[in-house]
Amino acid sequence: MPAKTKKPKPAAAKSPAENQQRRLWLMYPPRLITTPVIWQLSQKFPLVTNLRQVSVTDEIGIVCLELDGRRADIKAAIKWLEKIGVRVEPVEITVMET
């Protein structure tokens, strides 16, 4: 059953200066592989989602996703993804090296 969704509510009028694109790798644990996570995200947050690569096996789901929208909404979306158990990495994966 799909999760509850709410209408997108941007906090303020969109300004082009506030908009940004973020390129992310999402890694799903097996329990979330059958959940329509990207659809839920697009219902919860006023963001444009653009899938670039997807790999799903029984053990892990890996999605390469571009998010376009307000910085605050992108941050909130990332927080939500982490809360439901999706690991979120920048497209570079590891920026903080040893």
């Binding site: 670039r52 053990e59 570079e92 590891t94 903080m96 040893t98």
Partner: protein
């Protein structure tokens, strides 16, 4: 250099400061015109050049003569007979980047390339996000090159590691927060400020510096590829670049093609690639690092997939060892060969021991173990595990008594 090329789809891009494919976000890698390189890069030409990693400059991603880190590389390849006897292998060598110049780690290779290329592209500010060796090398080499440096670190990093960057006058910024937040912020900063971020927008060039370790191993072995090479894995990049280096020398006719395996070593407390390899998987699962080997503590290795592929292609194995085994291996290397390696060196020696004992590296073969950093940088890891000095009064009689007591005990 010919172009930057996507490792996933093969699309080509201009040789600029960019690192991911705009179509599938695959990582970009430098592609070369090997036919052209073959005409000038001969064994004789290499031998006539200074003893540094830049003696292979046609295969390193700079358009003109290098300008940063001219003394980096050509570290000793030490024949390790005493360690070989302990591990039970016919022939063993240590590629010793613990004495690399200027900051005693293999990272000097990649940073030297990244900064040389950054200068060519007109950058005056360089940056990195690091918890250790990378930060030190960027700070030192940027200082020597007259470049402004920003080094981002987690705010809770140990004081010793911070000083190793601060001393060079770099702008060291401690970021509060958990690892993932810090990591994502650094990616944002890298995208926003137009600096040469060595392991982000300069990554295609930076990573190529690792190949020089492979070239040196081949040349120092008398122009042959070792049957077995054991490499530490953090992001997995070094292992893939050792393979690329061996392949390039074969392609250029500088060495005869032979069978070789490039094995990967990790600490059990952070072993996503090793676990995947042992399970026969071609993907890894991210982990939360918990190991004394901080320089290998990357829970989501960016090149993990490619490292697994390289090991598969070379019929190699991966393994991992515990923190106690790492300390034992550091001691074993020090006591047999006089080389004090940082924890990552303990990991490679310990995993080599394990692979030889299991017959995965045959006893009658030859192997090279890559040591990538100096033990003086990770003293905390072995403190309390290497014994204590015995104290005596300033008396010859006391010293003789101590010696005779030890002789009796022995």
């Amino acid at each position: 250099m010919k172009a930057l090329k996507c490792r996933e789809c093969g699309r080509e891009y201009p040789l600029e400061a960019t690192h991911v494919c705009e179509f599938d976000f695959g990582p970009l890698e430098v592609a070369y015109d090997y036919a052209r390189i073959k005409k000038s890069l001969t064994r004789e030409a290499i031998a006539s050049r200074p003893r540094s990693m830049w003696r292979y400059r046609e295969l390193l991603p700079v358009a003109k003569e290098p300008t940063v880190g001219l003394q980096v590389g050509f570290t000793p390849l030490v024949k390790a007979d005493r360690l070989a006897a302990q591990l039970g292998i016919r022939e063993l060598w240590i590629k010793n980047d613990a004495v690399n110049y200027p900051t005693l780690s293999f990272k000097d290779r990649v940073v030297s390339v990244a900064l040389s290329r950054a200068k060519e592209l007109g950058f005056t500010t360089v940056a990195c996000a690091s918890t250790g060796n990378l930060a030190n090398s960027v700070a030192a080499q940027a200082a020597a090159a007259g470049l402004k440096a920003y080094v981002f670190i987690p705010s809770d990093l140990e004081q010793g590691k911070i000083i190793n960057s601060l001393v060079y006058g770099a702008n060291v910024i401690g970021i509060k927060g958990h690892y993932d937040e810090v990591n994502r912020l650094c990616a944002e900063i890298a995208g926003k400020f137009g600096w040469a971020f060595v392991n982000v927008n300069m990554r295609p060039y930076y990573a190529e510096g690792s190949k020089s370790m492979a070239y040196e191993i081949i040349e120092q072995l008398g122009w042959r590829i070792p049957q077995h090479t054991i490499v530490p894995m953090a992001s997995g990049s070094l292992l893939t670049k050792i393979q690329k280096g061996y392949q390039e020398f074969v392609k250029l006719g500088l060495v005869t093609e032979s069978k070789y395996s490039i094995h990967g070593a990790q600490a059990t407390g952070c072993s996503p690639i090793s676990v995947a390899q042992k399970a026969g998987l071609d993907f890894f699962k991210p982990v939360k690092p918990d190991t004394v080997a901080k320089s290998l503590a990357i829970g989501t290795p960016a090149d993990g997939f490619y490292a697994l592929k390289a090991m598969k292609e070379t019929n190699a194995h991966a393994d991992d060892i515990t923190d106690d085994e790492i300390r034992d291996a550091i001691k074993l290397l020090a006591e047999t060969e006089g080389i004090f390696a940082e924890t990552a060196g303990g990991v490679t020696v310990g995993v080599a021991k394990k692979l030889i004992a299991a017959g995965k590296i045959p006893h009658d073969s030859s192997a090279v173990i890559c040591v990538t950093g100096n033990g003086l940088k990770t003293l905390d890891a072995v403190t309390g595990h290497v014994g204590q000095p015995r104290e005596i009064k300033p008396s010859l009689r006391e010293f003789e008594a101590l010696l005779s007591a030890e002789t009796v005990a022995a």
